[in-house]
Symmetry: C2
Subunit: 130 residues, 2 copies
Amino acid sequence: MVTPEGEPVLRGTPYRADCPTRRILDRIGDRWTVLIVGALWDGPARFSELGRRIEGVSQKMLTQTLRGLERDGIVRRTVYPEVPVRVEYTLTEAGRTLREPLRALEEWSIAHLGDVSASQEAYDRGSASS
Amino acid sequence: MVTPEGEPVLRGTPYRADCPTRRILDRIGDRWTVLIVGALWDGPARFSELGRRIEGVSQKMLTQTLRGLERDGIVRRTVYPEVPVRVEYTLTEAGRTLREPLRALEEWSIAHLGDVSASQEAYDRGSASS
DNA sequence: CAGCATCCTACATGATACTG
DNA sequence: CAGTATCATGTAGGATGCTG
């Protein structure tokens, strides 16, 4: 199928930065989302437990990322009004379905990590030859 | 299997920010990589053609992202010493294999975009009730 | 315990001008 | 055409201190 100008229809859909995939990538592309989803995959966890499980995360980023995930319906936040208060985070059903695409990515990463590293070294060697 | 301290090995592997998946996410998580891979999926393209295909990309970011992808072995850059010079970008074999995980992500995005949006609206409504 | 508020810095991205 | 170089800026993220 072709437009009146003879241009394939596909060309009429330029690659836009606001596609659905981009919205998800903005989520999982940040530094902590994937780690949190991974840490919650084993089971629910409290705030401080998450902080301990995930290496290097600051309190601020943990809070901020969890809020975003809660807002997106990926994580459920449950407050137990005990003293002191206990807050538990769980993956929602939607959150659990995220595992498949993430695993596809993980497998690709593991499978190609060697190639990528080798390519980088070769590239850097080439550029360094001054 | 347990460490000398009696800690399960799995717990000895806290979620780290430097896993292979994170390295790939740092690549595809940026604003342009996925768009470029998508634009090159149809076939090779020249620099300016890519700029035209991808909405909103600046010359600088196009160059920068392409260099990174070339360094990672995802994209191949070929210079034809004509006048004026012609440069063609192609997906490498490794680049083409990236399609599967990206498509898994895309499908998840499309399948859950509605849920996510609904969850966000509900979340925002709840917070707005002052 | 589980945060919120504030300040501060580094870096990612963009706009603009210039070049082989 | 296909970049490079420079400058400007928004924001992600970290450090710190305080609170219900």
